[in-house]
Amino acid sequence: MGCEVVVGGAREAQLRAIEALFERHEQAFSRFLPDSELSRVNRAIAPIIAVSDLFADTLADALRAAAQTRGLVDPTLGVALEEAGYDRDFALMRSEDRPAGRGAPGCLTAVRLRGRLLSRPPGVKLDLNGVAKARAVDDALRLLPGSGFVAAGGDLAARGGAVVGLPGGGALSLHSGGVATSGRTRRRWRMGGEVMHHLIDPETGRPSASIWTLVTVAAASCRDADVAAKAAFLLGAEGPAWLDAQGLPGRFESPAGEVTNRTWQAALGIQAGAIGIQAGAIRIQAGAIGIQAGAIGT
């Protein structure tokens, strides 16, 4: 999934189980592994195909996320990502002189999933990263016996209390639930001189022109936080009020400064200032996914 996984509160056996869980998700949902289930689904030409239980569960959840966000978090933007130049593992990406494609808007309404049978229009490529990684984080947390946390890139879930340092500075105490940060500061590149990123506006099929650089959201699960953060980013100036309407705290960063919504201010106050990075972590590299065991502050 192109990121390091950090786990707190796990024993060795649980770390191995979590590593295996992320490997399964990688094998199922990677756009860049030719033998992943997602790649096979995207190559398939049959109008109706059978998918695995894991794939069906995740796609069903991606469609729910789309409904929750008025279609903003859209699992049908695989072609749009490729046209933007994001057609290989991000570690292999280089800025290119050729211009990006024209964009490929989503086609959510044409996707149907009945049990494990999937129907979608010809040429549609799914991208389930809108929910897949965050769901893996939530699933991994359930493997821990007690208090702990699991973090993968901008996605984190915790139980029993953890002080979470946020990108851009500041921190919060997460007693239970998830925190996610979506933004255009990490996965960005140039195509034909134009700055591109991976958060696609489903209406245009091109990287969003959102006013925000980062959006951080806390919710009951990492999945909910991640979906809401992406939607709030894509909503632009409407993002803070939309999160308030969902009852979710959100912090927004833009080149002009930082904004927090009313729910954030009620729950957390207005915090500023960076906090140091965790120390004393044990790094265990295994396979394609790095698992890092850290101590939980409880």
Partner: protein, 91 residues
């Protein structure tokens, strides 16, 4: 009672069989492509964000548009320590 010639009877039987086959395909298409049984409860995201898909349920965009897909809220507060347990990145 009129007795149809064997060839006519066979033709009618073949026609009936074809009609049955077409009807089955049509029924599947209707079930798969059009039937939108109520999934409100199924569509609600759990607090943990996980879900289960069972055969017989259909998912498509709009299944939760009626408002049943609200987000769950975190138990969160101001940082209680200047030393984070973990620092997150950006997705």
């Amino acid at each position: 009672m009129a007795i149809a010639p064997i060839s006519v009877a066979r033709r009618r039987a073949t026609l009936a069989k074809r009609t049955l086959t077409f009807g089955s395909v049509l029924a599947f298409a209707v079930t798969f492509g059009l039937a939108r049984s109520s999934h409100a409860a199924h569509a609600t995201s759990s607090a943990s964000g996980s879900s289960q898909t069972s055969s017989g349920h259909q998912h498509g965009y709009g299944d939760t548009a009626s408002g049943s897909g609200s987000f769950g809220q975190a138990d969160v507060g101001p940082a209680t320590s200047q030393s984070p347990s973990v620092s997150t990145g950006v997705s």
